[in-house]
């Protein structure tokens, strides 16, 4: 099970502009599995992505939109994508401002299938 997940995360990093891919525990923001480029700090990404997902979940519920499934934070110099992977897990991709979010999202869905 771990090997397919590692392969799936690795495939995510091959998407244009992606610097790293992680599987993260949603409640405490700890890294469960990761594939990141050198110089990328997975612990910080995991913690911040989990926190953003939590806060977004509260706002989404308040707006009557229900539980978030996918977040896309666009910065001037980079991109963060977070997908709910079920069972209290989040799949996270971080990359440049030119990251292909559509492809990254497809690979995230495949990674979730691999994790199941």
């Amino acid at each position: 099970m771990i090997a397919p997940l590692a392969e799936a995360l690795d495939r995510m990093t091959r998407v244009g502009g992606v610097w790293g891919a992680l599987l993260v525990a949603a409640d405490d923001g700890l890294v469960i599995a990761e594939a990141v480029m050198e110089g990328i700090k997975p612990a910080a990404i995991a913690a911040l992505a989990a926190s953003l997902a939590r806060q977004s979940g509260i706002a989404s519920e308040a707006a009557g939109a229900g539980t978030p499934r996918f977040l896309h934070l666009q910065g001037a110099a980079g991109t963060l994508a977070v997908m709910s992977a079920g069972d209290g897990l989040l799949l996270v991709a971080v990359g440049s401002d030119e990251m292909n979010v559509g492809l990254a999202r497809l690979e995230m869905l495949r990674a979730i299938e691999a994790a199941e």
Binding site: A59, S60, A63, F70, Q74, G75, A77, G78
Partner: protein, 267 residues
């Protein structure tokens, strides 16, 4: 001259501390803003005259100035139970309700005070002041309602899925409803401010540069959060049938509209 008047009141009070001079002195100290001294004088006097309505009236005014609205209201209500035509209590409650924003009750009490004493200049002035405040408040409410209806006019879903808030989570305009039609503008505004702070922190710490926007694809709807300027936040919500790209385009147009509207508010 004012100091001379205060000095003479103090002299009179000190000459006969058990006289009724404490009522005028407490009121004088209140109008001078010396509220602690006013409280001491009023309470000391009330020990000697525990049923004196004028003293309770002054004490309630002092409490109002201190900001203890509940106790002031209790005292004036008790005075009205004893004498329903007590002008001081009616005027005091009028001012108190106006301060709470309950202009209907405020005007009701002041008009009753005026019917008891039509020549009392304090009552007339208070009534005019509260009428003006009530008109202003009504104008503000109309203006807020107008901004809710006109801010995003012409844009798809303007009356139910676009919300402009400040960075502290206060509503600026627009309106947000759940898919069931319940209005959730204010709670949503409060929470998007927290999300924006989290987005700023995340983008900063991960080296993503200033955050531009955040989309949230949720179970019942998709949300798009952006910052039209450095003081405001824009939330656009649509059902899941609208693709993320179209939602982003719509949000861009709404942001342009919001910037124009914000510029007009400043001017």
């Amino acid at each position: 001259m004012m100091i001379d008047e205060l000095t003479s009141l103090v002299d009179e009070y000190l000459r006969s501390p058990r006289s009724l001079a404490f009522v005028d002195l407490a009121e004088r100290l209140r109008t001078e803003g010396r509220l602690e001294a006013a409280v001491r004088v009023a309470l000391t006097g009330l020990e000697h005259y525990p049923t004196l309505s004028a003293a309770y009236d002054v004490y309630a005014r002092i409490l109002l100035d201190i900001g203890d609205l509940d106790r002031a209201e209790t005292i004036w209500r008790e005075l009205l139970e004893r004498d329903r035509r007590h002008v001081g209590a009616l005027t005091g409650l009028g001012g108190l309700y106006a301060r709470k924003g309950d202009y209907d009750s405020a005007l009701d009490h002041l008009e009753r005070a005026l019917s008891v004493d039509p020549a009392d200049p304090a009552v007339v002035q208070a009534l005019m002041r509260v009428r003006r405040a009530a008109e202003d408040a009504e104008g503000d409410a109309t203006s807020a309602q107008a901004s809710e209806q006109t801010l995003f006019r012409g844009l798809d879903g303007a009356g139910r899925g676009m919300l402009l808030a400040d960075r502290h989570g206060q509503m600026l305009g627009g309106r947000l409803e759940t898919p069931a039609g319940d209005e959730v503008s204010e709670p949503a505004a409060a929470h998007v401010a927290s999300v924006a702070r989290e987005a700023t922190r995340t983008a900063d710490m991960l080296g993503l540069g200033p955050w531009l926007w955040l989309t949230i694809e949720a179970a019942a709807a998709n949300l798009h959060l952006s910052a039209p300027d450095d003081q405001s936040l824009l939330l656009v919500v649509r059902d899941r049938s609208m693709p993320a790209g179209r939602l982003a385009r719509l949000a861009e147009r709404a942001a342009e509209t919001a910037r124009g509207w914000l510029g007009e508010q400043i001017l």
